[in-house]
């Protein structure tokens, strides 16, 4: 893989993984659950 491709892949993956984990973290640790 070229450096450019690798950098792009890592950046986009990082953005998606961080956002997905953040959303699930907030969702699963929320004290607001349904009855």
């Amino acid at each position: 893989m070229t450096w450019q491709a690798l950098v792009f892949m890592v950046l986009v993956w990082a953005f998606i993984i961080v956002m997905t984990c953040y959303c699930f973290y907030k969702l699963l640790t929320s004290d607001r659950e349904w009855e």
């Binding site: 491709a5 892949m9 993984i17 997905t20 959303c23 907030k26 969702l27 929320s30």
Partner: protein
Amino acid sequence: MTQAERWATRLGLVLAMAGNAVGLGNFLRFPAQAAKNGGGAFMIPYVVALILMGLPLMWVEWTMGRYGGHFGHHSCPGIFQSMGRSRFWKYFGALSLWSCLVIAAYYLYVESWCMVYCLNSLVYGFQGMNVDQVRGFYDWLTGQRDYELLAISGWGMFFFALCVVVNIYILSRGLAKGIELTSKIGMPLLILFGAVLAVRGLMINQELDPEAKASPFTGLNYVWEPKWNQLGDASVWLAAAGQIFFTLSLGMGSIHCYASYLREKDDVALAGATTAFTNEFCEVILGGTILIPIATAYLGLAGVQEYTQGGSGFGLGFFVFPTLFNKWGAFAPLAGFLWFGLLFFAAITSSLAMGQPIMAFLQQEYGYTRSRSALAFGGLVLVLAVPVAVLHQNSFFDEFDYWAGTVMLVVFALLETILFAWVFGMERGWNELNKGAELWIPKVFYYIIKYVTPLILILILIAYVAEPQGGWHSVRAHNWTSWEFSSGSMIGKILHKDLDERLHKALDENQQKDEDKRVDPEKIRSFYAELRWWRNVDRITMVATFVFFAVLVYYAWRRREIREAGI
């Protein structure tokens, strides 16, 4: 009855929503689109479209659903009517019922192929096959033959019917025990299957595997290498916006329906964002790491480019992959099972989301029970599915996919954005979105939803209507006074330009064949003439289906008026 239905858990709802969004396109279309439209450079317009259109529309649909649900509406006719002042909004809402049914009619057919491929992989059915033989298996399953309009396959129809029955059964079990449970099982399995395949694919080593022609990282590079010169190309931006739009299953009414079972102060901001990012995880990280890297390792880059030049990974996924898995020895049947199992889970969690809005409408407006409404949905699907299954794929199948699965989704999304931001009012809409929100949404999205998202949708629609011959990247070469529409544009489709192009191509290819293999040119001409006729029948069928739903909506509101008047 629908009023008593609720999601059991928040996680279950998010997984059901993500299951709705994650479909076949995540694994087959995305990598091919990315590779075709600039590789890494494609991801710039892709992420921009996610922020300016995908996330805002996701929030709009969740908010509209929860708002309508508060008034006891679980399908778009009622949800739209509760937000708009004019009585016509409920008929625009009926478009969602129409889209769900028409898309389900062909989507369930593809879902049944995944099921058959999955089972056939497990029993070593593809062992020793080459690409032509796998293509032969596909033709056997679908009954497709060159220049034959009728495409009847007994086994194909049996599995299609089986798939419809499985969907009816799950839907009849209700939200929590049916859709939610399926998603709670299906989504983690889908991610697990995808992760196993991605890791196994990246482990292909040219030195250890004599069949490998290239490194899988060459394929990964092909997907991600930024081709900066394509970034100035309008068609790349349109392709990225289109991919974001379709991958999130927007514009169908399924998200509204699922969200309508929330309570008034349940969060939609965080749940909507989680849905969108789960879909992106499946699409970009899993989808981008399976199809093209594995195919490149065994076919080489040129082979992959040949299969993906149309921007679809269907040929690679269904014709080539079973032969590539054969190179994995004892792991081959399991790999085939994982790949087609993954596609099956992706498909079924989406098809369930197409059934629920129609069921909810029948339950709520006509007092159907859950089982009866599930059977009614299955019956309606079968009526439309018969021509899909017995006629050549270039007739009903392609037309349903284009008009219901592509054009109408954008039209519907544009209508709902106008309704939310301009009719209901952006101020009220913004307050509604932030009610009970567990995620802070920056105020800039207020303006994005109001101005930018509808503008992007209008641009996509214009691009569909009037795409010039040669695509939008050649737009500068076109003269405004002699604009020639492409065969893929809406106007080109209406005029059957794509059939004319295919006819000329088929005649040319036939002419170049050895004399003993040539088909009578008259047969080819007559086939395309029949296709044209059946496509017109198909369009009348689609209009009739919409009229059917509009009449159902009309009588539903008459019944409401009578009920409310206490007559």
